[in-house]
Amino acid sequence: MDLEFTIEEQEFRATVRQFISANLPRDIAEKVQNGRRLVKDDYVRWLKILYQHGWGATMWPREYGGTAWNPVQLYIFDEECSAAGAPMQLPFGPKMVAPVIMTFGNRAQQERFLPRIISGEDWWCQGYSEPNAGSDLASLRTRAERQDDHYLVNGQKAWTTFAHYADWMFCLVRTSSEGRQQAGISFLLIDMKSPGITVRPVILLDGEHEINEVWLEDVKVPVQNLVGEENKGWTYAKFLLGHERTDIARVGRSKAALKRLKTIAHREISNGRPLIEDQRFRDRVALVELELMALEVTNLRVLLDDRKGRAPGPESSILKIKGSEIEQMLTELTMQALGPYALPSTSEPRIGNEGNHPSGAFLADCATSNYLNCRKVSIYGGSNEIQRNIIAQMILGL
């Protein structure tokens, strides 16, 4: 048992830190560090910088242009990126569809799609959920009817993150209604420019446009875009869920958020003293810090344990539950730290902000919006209720 980083790992961290410091655009870092929303261009700029350095897909095997970093290196990279305010890498292309294409796709698909994912030329979105298939994903109804050289796809996808930015969608569709629901699902790659696709924005409670509904009306998808075998899509989807969840706990992000919270708590004044001296508040910060300390180690334990034998996945449910709860608590405490200034939604300087607001315009900005937006993290990616079911069934055998 050894929790120390090796010399090589320390040197690796130094290399990563140096690269980020020299190359991460200031304006992007500032947005991320102050909890502000990013636009597509912010993600693209950083992605291109990484790609040019050969770090476009750090978790991919070398044969596809990845760095083949081990879990500890990936963890160090995520921590350094989060600390410096680098945008999180959107998982849909590089971490979700790419492993499926690598493992179950054919050579033509790998040659066509993978280079464009790693370079950032193609943006991907995930066509899974439907209005009537949320937690019960297997009951999905979007149909794909085989007709000669293509599938004819009809249906509706929901909660599709960044579909309005995406070039491609990986889509779970129903190709058979016989037998078990799971046994009739296929994995299709769909060009978002296909005729018959309509993307409708769904605005969240904080006013942000992140997710969409995607309507598919007689969309023709070439059979070449079927990944693996027809009716085996559920297997590929499960593989995807358990695979490479290095950052499902979002430890790096939460460490940066905790640091931001502490800064705010030192600057805010309550009863004439810095808020951090208020024991009631400070204890809550201390407790969430403890949770995060524990999660950091649990995360590493899960990532480094390859001896379990069964399909990877159920342990990631622990990471998702704790990670999301910690993330939410951090946003809540940050909002609470502002006291009454949690109420205004504008980022215009408030009266106290003419240079003098305790938190400053930047750190305090967006705190409530982030709290509101973050209510989704215990719901998306498999709600925390479903995650508990997974642990109960797959780890505990209940």
């Binding site: 937690s135 019960d136 004439g272 208020d278 006291g339 939604s345 209510r375 719901i379 998306y380 209720e385």
Partner: protein, 380 residues
Amino acid sequence: MNFDYTEEQRALRDSLQRFIEKEYSFEKRRALIRSGESFNREVWAHFAELGLLALTVPEDCGGIGGNAVDTMLVMECMGKGLVLEPYLACAVLATTLVSTAGTNEQKQSLLPPAAEGGLLLAAALCEPETRYALDRITTTAEATADGWRISGKKALVLGGPSADKFIVSARTGGEANAAEGISLLLVENGTPGLDVRAYRMHDGTHAADITLRSVEVGHAALLGTVGKALPCIELAVGQALAALCAEAVGIMTALNDATLDYMKTRKQFGQPIGRFQALQHRMVDMVVATEQARSMTILATVKAGASDPTERLKYMSGAKTYVGMAARTVGQTAVQLHGGMGVVDELIVSHYFKRLTMIMATLGDTDFHLDRFSKALLAA
């Protein structure tokens, strides 16, 4: 002892309820928010017609002379209807401040137009650096030949953007945090030196931060007795806290109804999700929390006028603490049980959640009031 409402109270609640259902639908409200309006004159006029603006005004000042229970019923409706207009700020807090602190002349001059809807008053009691404290006042009012000169900053003035007059707490004497030496002064909107910076809040309502730079007002602007305003402020804020708790209970009740309906109709895995025990228990917890919060609100309401300030503090701060915690539980659970639908703007659930979140940080958050309630234990 009974917990019944009078016939008049039920009639008032029912007519307000009807008005909100017809004229203040969810879609109409979203349109109001989109338009950026902070205040709708027609709605305010209708509140005046219903007698709502006269509720907290004494009969001899052109009001109805209602009691805190009347206000509680009204506020529950305002909560359920997610009404954006500054009823609490103008028709509860500000009017109570005037009737508590003002001279007879001032009451006769200010309260009748307020009750009729023609005058909007907003209380400016807190400051940017002092969070919720009502006694940490650094805004100063210097005596001049013609009256007073006021300088300072006031924060989160509810109803500020649409106010005709501000009631500003300022220090006319005493040390920085002393209870003595705080006065209330009326400042007309548009007075030279007064800067009103309005902003929207996350729930669609509006507030303002105001700066006073050597604002000159006459002698008559002093509300009541110089230096003795703090007890009046605390009494008025206490009434407002009870009202705010009632608004929260109205929202929580509506959230429970909406969530229960969703659990019965939303099907996954071949059955309504309300069949899953894990979710049933969470739903039950929401209902239990709401009933407890309702009880605390009733307590605060009947004690809001108590003459002993220590007793009042116990019930007002106690209620705000408790109801704040219940609001958190009910709000967060309602969103979670709605799944993705709980976080979209299209559905009312997220709007209820946002308003509850704002209420939790208004007139003192849970920490602030728990601190006050808890410190009272030391005295025992």
